[in-house]
Structures are given as C-alpha cells and as structure tokens.
C-alpha cells in the first residue's frame, strides 16, 4: 500500500507540475510538450486504476494523434510566441481568484460528500480487459458507437471544408 501511495504522490506531482508548465510557458510548442507529459502520466493512472484499454487509447489517441495535430498547427501558423498580456488588466487576478474558489468548492464536495465511498474488496475478473470493453462496446453500446463514427466523419468533412477557404473565396470573387 505504501508503494502505491508513493507512486501516486510522485505521479501526481509530475501531472500537476506539467499542467502548470503548460499554463505558464510562453512558447506554445513547450506548452504542447508539457501537455503530452501530462497525458502520459494520466495514462499511468489509468493503468493503476485497472483500465489498460483506456490507458493505451489515451497514449495513442490523445498523446499521439491529437497532440501531433496541435503541434502541426502551431508550426504551420508559426504562432509559437504567445507572450502578450491581455488588453483588460483585471482578467488575470480575477481568473486566479475564480480558480481558487473553484478548487475550494470541489475540494469541499470531494471531502465531505463523494469522497467517502468504501473501497471495493476486489475488482471482478477481467475488469477493464480489452475483451470485456470490446464486448460491452459492441453489444450494449453499439448505437452510441455507430453515432460516434458518424460524428468523426462529420468532423473530418468539417475540417476539410473549413480549411478550403481560399479556393471557395476565389469562386465567390469570380
């Protein structure tokens, strides 16, 4: 148990530090790299919580595909430097105060109401295994799965249509 606690403390330190690094780094590429580190540590948390399929999907989909897309767009636009202060001066202090309030509220809720759930004695056999996840996905949740595929298709078409602006603008001008 103590090794698990030590592992949790180390990993959560890395996760929070990388999130803060993303928040405060001036360079957008560094922010993306910090976020990849954060996603990797959260994937390890998923492994600890006996969700190996979700952990691997996190690494491939989030840390792999989505963040590569982010880095690609950052380098495509050449918008790495982000060091401008907002035009309204009171936004940053107000945001920090609101963030502290949100943290206090959620900590209150966690430690007074929902945090006292009893620990399970043991997980069921095969819990979180890709076989069980696949069976549930293709029997009980097959309709949301198909809707998700339509959503991804719409997202793909939307991205293509939105970035084709120049060609369509030429047609409009002529």
């Amino acid at each position: 148990m103590s090794t698990e606690l030590a592992l949790f403390i180390m990993l959560s330190t890395v996760a929070v530090a990388s999130a803060l690094g993303m928040l405060f780094s001036r360079n957008a590429v560094y922010a993306a790299l910090f976020l990849i580190l954060n996603f990797a540590t959260v994937a390890v948390f998923y492994l600890i919580l006996s969700a190996p399929f979700i952990a691997l999907a996190q690494v491939t989909v989030y840390a792999g595909a989505i963040m590569v897309l982010f880095l690609f767009v950052i380098m495509l636009l050449g918008a790495e430097q982000t060091g401008r202060t907002p035009t309204v001066w009171w936004i940053q202090p107000l945001a920090l105060v609101l963030g502290v309030i949100l943290l206090i509220e959620s900590a209150y809720l966690v430690f007074t109401q929902r945090g006292s759930l009893p620990n399970p004695e043991g997980v069921p056999a095969l819990y979180g295994a890709p076989k069980l996840v696949g069976e549930t996905l293709f029997t009980q949740y097959v309709l949301p799965f198909e809707v998700t595929s339509i959503l991804l298709l719409v997202g793909m078409i939307g991205a293509i249509v939105l970035t084709q602006r120049k060609a369509r603008g030429k047609m409009d001008d002529s």
Binding site: N38, Y46, L69, T82, R84, N119, Q140, L152, L162
Partner: protein
C-alpha cells in the same frame, strides 16, 4: 487501491488548472489545450469512479469522450487556421468582430 478521494482531488486540481488556463491565456491554441486538460481531468474522475463501482460503463464513456474530443480538435484547429488566415493572429482579444 488508494481512497478514491485522492484521484478525485487530483482530477479537481487538473480541472482547475485547465479552467484558469482558459481564462488567463490569450492564445487560442493554448486555450484549446486547456480544454483538453479539463476533458482529461473529467476522464480521470470517470475511470476512478468506474473502478470503485466495478462498472465497465465508465470506461466506455471515457472512450466516447476521447472520440468527441478528437472530432472537436479537428474542427477547432481548422477554425483556428481559418481565423489566422483572415486576421493574421490567433489572439482571442482581437476576435471581436462577428463578420470576418
């Protein structure tokens, strides 16, 4: 397993950092990354409660959240590229016109 409040507390901290990031950063791409951080914190809460209840449905829902996040990022980054082509900037303070 550690008490679930540890994981939920970490999830709350990550969500708060993401929310503060949305509020204080002016770069649209970094704002998008903060939204991804918040989605990730919500996923962590889902997986920890699914582990406590021994229910697989929480992990299935995390899978759907990842798919929706992927679609959202594709469309959102296309929007950012379009805005950059129009205004030569992705500073959200300069996006103050309804008509591009």
């Amino acid at each position: 397993m550690l008490p679930v409040s540890y994981y939920i507390g970490l999830s709350a901290v990550l969500f708060t950092i993401g929310a503060v990031g949305v509020l204080i950063r002016r770069n649209a791409i970094v704002i998008f990354m903060s939204i991804e951080l918040m989605l990730n914190a919500a996923n962590l809460a889902f997986v920890s409660y699914a582990r406590v209840h021994g229910a697989i449905s929480g992990q299935i829902f995390v899978f759907f959240v990842m798919a929706v996040a992927a679609a959202e990022v594709a469309v959102g980054l296309a929007l950012i590229v379009t805005i950059f082509n129009t205004k030569q900037s992705i500073d959200v303070d300069q996006m103050n016109a309804l008509k591009g």
